[in-house]
């Protein structure tokens, strides 16, 4: 009996976390791209994509775009680090920092403080689910960065639509045209008789 209570007690703690990682049926994640439009204006800086706890990781931004790989419940920030402060050897593993260095919130803060990193983009949109029937294909956010002040809102957002537009519009449209033509033809035949 005690074992059963203990199991129920444990399950009540574990199950919400299990459920949190499941995508609601009928929904799928949307691709969100975050671009930094003026990254070339800062040749003395490297830019780090910081995915905060509960699943922290840091990666080096190699182009003008953040990577889409960040845990859905993590806050995504971008930090600027002076080139002479960052050891690129730390990012040899596919551009990702060894996770042991940033396994806790405190380690992460210490690591970034140690580099003198400056947060330039805060709380980037990086995870969103939409119904399977949604016509949204992807979201592209364009940010302009400023080393002295973090930017929260994108300067421009472009949302692309997928081919479902054709499914929702053209199939019913073709069907209704055929139905109308069929009924008209039938009526015409009836009148001629």
């Amino acid at each position: 009996m005690k074992k059963a209570i203990l199991l129920i007690f444990l399950a009540s703690f574990i199950l919400p976390f299990v459920n949190a990682d499941i995508i609601t049926p009928g929904y799928h994640p949307l691709l969100i791209n975050n671009y930094i439009t003026n990254i070339d204006d800062f040749p003395d800086y490297y830019f780090l994509q910081v995915c905060n706890p509960p699943m922290p990781h840091i990666s080096l931004i190699k182009s003008n775009k953040t990577s889409p790989y960040c845990y859905k419940f993590s806050q995504l920030d971008v930090y600027a680090v002076k080139k002479d402060r960052l050891n690129l050897q730390d990012f040899k593993n596919g551009g990702y920092l060894n996770e042991k260095k940033i396994s806790t919130d405190e380690n992460l803060t210490n690591y970034l403080n140690g580099l003198g990193a400056v947060r330039v983009l805060e709380n980037l949109e990086h995870y969103k689910t939409v119904p399977d029937s949604s016509i949204e294909k992807d979201i592209n956010n364009y940010y302009t960065i400023n080393i002295t002040q973090p930017n929260i809102e994108p300067n421009k957002t472009i949302k692309n639509k997928n081919n479902l537009v054709y499914y929702y519009i053209f199939i019913p449209l073709i069907a209704i045209i055929i139905v109308v033509l069929l009924l008209l033809k039938r009526r015409k035949n009836a009148v001629s008789f």
Binding site: P25, G26, P131, D132, S133, S134, I135, L164, Y167, Y168, I171, P172, I174, A175, I176, I178, V179, L182, L183
Partner: protein, 100 residues
């Protein structure tokens, strides 16, 4: 892909109902089933996608299909309404329970 699957399942189920109810011109009934469901199914899925109420959408689908059955199959209103009701109950229930 899931939407196309939903459309195919729906039109097969509704074709079966039309065939049992009308019992003639099976090829025409299949064509009507394709036409009717190509009109209502994508629109219904679109409105589900923007979180409209399932029952309200199904009610609209039922009414539109009843009219289409009446005029395409050349039957009376009473029969068209009964066919539409059974066809939509049959096609909507599995999706209401298993796919949503």
């Amino acid at each position: 892909m899931q939407l196309v699957f939903s459309l195919i399942i729906t039109l097969i189920l509704e074709f079966i109902v039309y065939s049992i109810a009308i019992r003639k011109k099976y090829f025409s009934l299949l064509a009507y089933s394709i036409l009717i469901n190509s009109l209502t199914n994508p629109l219904a899925n679109f409105f589900y996608g923007i979180n409209y109420n399932f029952l309200i959408i199904e009610l609209f689908v039922f009414i539109i299909e009843a009219f289409l059955i009446k005029f395409l199959v050349s039957t009376n209103y009473k029969k068209a309404i009964i066919i539409s009701l059974i066809a939509n109950l049959l096609s909507a229930l599995p999706f209401a329970f298993f796919f949503r």
